[in-house]
Symmetry: C2
Subunit: 455 residues, 2 copies
């Protein structure tokens, strides 16, 4: 074992020049997307009306294990990557654990999260195809910021549908997005059919990610030379996010380490999927066994732990193709949980399939316990985690404490996907004791399941 520094940064020459495509190694593939009207496998031509061509190709690519990162995109990555792999020496000491804790920190860019990895890629391909404008949705704001940054870099117009409750609670997020030149519309809005319909049915609603997706897709389909981009869930997004896991793996190899446990938070699954996939490759191909993969979700939106594995719409307005995934139903209204990025009814089809096939474990955490871990982590490691990322911190700490009790010196890797600088109202409510936990009842869940389409 080599002497391990606090932070490992790969050099530019050591970073990955390719993404890893886990679809090429999965024993069984996720089920195909279905057309929202016919329930038949969706034709590539239909996908291309929504997404850029190259991204559609990536979405469907089940054969190429590695896909080249274009040179121009590599250059953009160099502005904010590689991100550090950090050894949590101080946290280990505070916990008195024999475990070795590493975390891959993706928060050191202005979007504050890993989202920029895929935003950069999607905007690059749009630009290459001659697309002039893009639409998207954002919840907590990380994705909207990331996309605004990428669009500013590549010179493409952007309209962001921001979940209304976030739009109102997070004026600073709005300001960052506007600084990078994007247009923001609170969702639901009267700029789309689906928005007008939702407003009519639920006047005064704070909106949801699913609804904002519907509006963004509708606008993209109705605007010439415009496409929609999505920040999570899709195979292409997991592909782009594989840079997280690839860099983490390369950094760990430099110090002769391989994780026993890998932990990430899951909303749509992009951070978790990107972190684990290069390690999951070793499991899928039989090079390694016994690695524990743990997805952590909020107890208030328990997609994996209490959801159903079924075909469902990715959005509330039912304009997107259906995916077979773990879902709470597209009508499920998550509580006003502070971890905005994890408030999504569905889950990446890849992550869902791996979970369904037993490769992944899932844990649901209550937010007061999550924030307890976040504050403990901040005090020792000096980084203020995003509420989303703090879900992973919670379970990493729990696992390290287990190691203290069993005396096992396990190697734990977790994804610190972002920072909490824009979530300080949540920290304040935790610190002043007004934060509460919310766990949906079985009845609440049944209401969501009732919206599942009969496929």
């Amino acid at each position: 074992m080599k002497n391990v520094p606090y932070r490992i940064y790969l050099s530019e020459s050591e970073t990955s020049k390719q993404w890893y495509n886990i679809l090429a190694d999965m024993k069984e593939l996720p089920d195909p997307y279905l057309h929202p009207a016919t329930f038949k496998p969706v034709e590539p031509e239909v996908m291309k009306q929504i997404f850029c061509e190259e991204l559609c190709a990536q979405e469907m690519n089940t054969t190429d294990r590695y896909i080249d990162i274009p040179q121009e995109l590599q250059e953009f990555y160099k502005i904010f990557r590689p991100s550090p792999l950090i050894r949590a020496y101080n946290l280990e000491k505070a916990l008195g654990t024999p475990a070795k804790i590493y975390y891959k920190f993706e928060g050191n860019n202005t979007s504050g999260s890993h989202k920029l990895n895929s935003a950069a890629a999607q905007v690059y391909y749009a630009k290459k195809q001659g697309i002039t404008s893009l639409t998207t949705e954002t919840g907590a704001g990380q994705w909207g910021t990331a996309l605004a940054m990428a669009c500013s870099h590549f010179g493409i117009d952007l309209t962001v549908y921001m979940v209304k409750v976030s739009y109102e609670q997070k004026p600073y997020r709005k300001a960052v997005i506007q600084t990078f030149g994007a247009k923001i519309i609170p969702s639901p809005s009267d700029t789309t059919d689906v928005g007008r319909e939702i407003l009519k049915e639920h006047p005064g609603t704070g909106g949801s990610l699913g609804c904002a997706i519907s509006e963004a897709v509708e606008t993209a389909m109705k605007t010439p030379n415009c496409r929609y981009v999505l920040g999570s869930v899709l195979n292409q997004v997991l592909l782009h996010q594989s840079v997280i896991g690839l860099e983490a793996k390369a950094a760990l190899e430099k110090i002769d380490e391989y994780p026993d446990i890998i932990i990430g938070c899951t909303g749509g699954g992009s951070n978790f999927g990107g972190l684990i996939s290069p390690f999951m490759m070793d499991t899928l191909t039989g090079r390694r066994s016994g690695t524990e993969f743990i997805a952590v979700e909020p107890a208030s939106c328990p997609t994996l732990t209490r959801g159903r594995y079924a075909y469902d719409y990715c959005d509330t307005g039912h304009v997107t193709p259906l995916a077979r995934m773990y879902t709470l139903g597209s009508d499920f209204i998550p509580s006003a949980n502070h971890a905005g990025g994890l408030r999504y009814h569905g889950m990446s089809p890849v992550v869902s399939k791996l979970y369904h096939d037993g490769y992944i474990k899932a844990v649901a955490s209550e937010q007061t316990k999550v924030f307890e871990a976040a504050v403990q982590f901040a005090k020792h490691e000096t980084i203020l985690p995003a509420p989303e990322s703090a879900h992973a911190v919670r379970v990493a700490i729990d696992k390290a404490i287990e190691c203290r009790e069993t005396g096992e010196a396990k190697t734990i890797l977790f994804g610190l996907s972002g920072t909490g600088y824009f979530d300080l109202n949540a920290y304040t409510s935790y610190l002043d004791g007004t934060m509460t936990d919310y766990i949906p009842t079985d009845e609440d869940l049944e209401k969501g399941f009732a919206s599942l389409p009969k496929v």
Copy 2:
């Protein structure tokens, strides 16, 4: 010339194990501090009532060119250092300049700025001396956050007097400071004699840094086993901040570069002093000549460009020793300029002396022009600068444009001392066109100068 990557991180073994003490190389030293009551050079014994012993020794040390960074502190530095030296390829390209622009980015820690470098050192020495609590002031909040982080790490109680206007405008800053376990009091407050007096004279005042300093010093002197710590101005702080310049210099040496122009923003002078001092050493000792050092200050608080070089109090309440420095007078009330960290009437005695002796140039920038540069920088380099740091960005861009006009491929280094995540109301006011510029009239300045003590 080697192939220059976007970001250069030194390895742990390459980082400096010593600080550089510029006092050892100055041809003429700054004048001594004076006692606020007697106007005679202040005795070390008096200084030790306010500051920790080791820090007093550093303050007065004019002989040791290098001072060892204690091992335990080096370990703490490793949690957030080294910071990257970044080549601004994208900004260069956008400007069409032959200049090579590098910036040392200190914002990638939760305090959001370079302040943590000195906070860590000061708390370490306090702990070593057996001090159990500290007091300080904070304006924009970076210093308060940094100190709260360091106190949390070393286990020391902290009370922060936060300028009232910032306390009210920046609830998120407050939340971060509280997350790290510190107590915050809006200043002026009724917890001190000086606070009560100011409140009586100026009810409803939003406070100032000078006033918050007075309160923090008073509390430190009245509380057993408590000391005061200051985030800028002092020689000791510039000493600790020399890690910025030392790392920048080491990184530039790796790519065979030496800056022709070095630019930093100046409030109290710690960021600027820390950045330039290892390069200024080469100028002072005759190893180099022709390097241009530029301090950038807000036109609304033009300490160097329009202030006087005179003995003055460091605080409004006149409880601190006097320093000979560039000053606008301790009664000067800076306008509500958004660059909170630059709203200070005085300037580091070291920076003042170097400026007075002609080693440094100074430029005053208006804030709308500063924010114009900040937005331009963010769009191309993806980092959102703190309003303070954006002053340096402004002049770096101006210099790069000059190079475009003259065709000179100069090497420009500037300090990007922090991020603007907590200053988005300022960005919003710039973006929506409501931001205004304020330049004090000669009459305004005369009012401040009238408060200068007759020494």
